[in-house]
Amino acid sequence: MNEVDRSIINHMQEGFPVCERPFAMLAEQLNLEENELILRVQALRDDGTLSRFGPLYNIEMLGGIYCLVAMQIPEHDLEKVIEAVNSYPEVAHNYERTHELNVWFVLAAESESQLEDLLADIETQTGYPTFAMPKLDEYFVRLKFDA
């Protein structure tokens, strides 16, 4: 990754124009040719430096619910529970973390009642309690990584 790539990544975390030739507009600000910018963004996307290009949707405003859920699973049951939890298509991300509550995943549901049903079902299937941690408030962040 060179300086040009860095400036592209830094710049494009701030926004992307909504117009007929957005890359041309952006390229001008970055002192690049439109085609060069497109090729570089494609290359950064292909090699995994960029995990996404496009709009980031606010799921709550679309009527969906995202809920962070934690579980405390002892080592001897860990792999079995992970497999059971991951088998739900509603489980988006799942991470093992350094805490007694060691399994942390995000559930995507269409309603509060579906969320409750899913939590109850996961508890029945795994035999362990779930700790639902829905967001009560979200604080504004800059959400930018320096490349």
Binding site: V18, E20, A24, F53, N58, G63, N94, L136, Y139, K144
Partner: protein, 167 residues
């Protein structure tokens, strides 16, 4: 947090959302390509996407870098126990720090889980991240009754986001 009441999405919006959930095509006229795919006028697609952005249904448009690839290796979920009556004021301060990527108020689960303020902190190494955590602790001061940091040790599942209720 749910705000679906004062935003009305019609069938065209929903089709645009579905077609772009996975991202935009990387091409000179991305909105034209989306329009062609949906058999809509490019002008209409540009207008609708602009409106979705204005309404906050699209938080932003742009790139999301893989932060591991940019060298951010020490990514900690910091969790803090602060008084509920101060949490909004404190949450806004912590969210504004440029090393925090997400900042949320979440419910406690006493006695197991006393923490109500979550902030994801990203540093190139553990030392840097530790310094950031000290910086947060200094800002919270006496309002911080206890805190801890959870590092991820394994990604167990990672799938694309799934939008419900778009039909």
């Amino acid at each position: 947090m749910r705000n679906s009441d004062n935003t009305t999405l019609d069938q065209i919006d929903r089709r645009i959302i579905e077609a772009t959930q996975a991202g935009f095509p990387i091409t000179a006229r991305p909105y034209h390509v989306i329009a062609e795919q949906l058999e809509l006028e490019p002008k209409l697609v540009i207008e609708r996407i602009g409106k979705l952005l204005e309404q906050g249904i699209i938080r932003r448009i742009g790139v999301v870098p893989n932060h591991y690839r940019l060298g951010y290796r020490a990514n900690g979920m910091t969790v803090w126990d602060v008084p509920d009556e101060k949490i909004n004021e404190l949450g806004n301060k912590i969210g504004a720090l440029d090393f925090v990527s997400h900042c949320y108020h979440r419910p406690r689960h006493l006695p197991d889980w006393p923490y109500n303020l979550f902030a994801m902190v990203h540093g190139y190494d553990k030392q840097t991240t530790d310094n950031y955590i000290n910086e947060i602790a200094a800002i919270l001061g006496a309002a911080n009754r206890q805190h801890t940091v959870l590092y991820s040790t394994r990604i167990l599942k990672k799938t694309g986001m799934r939008i419900g209720n778009t039909q």
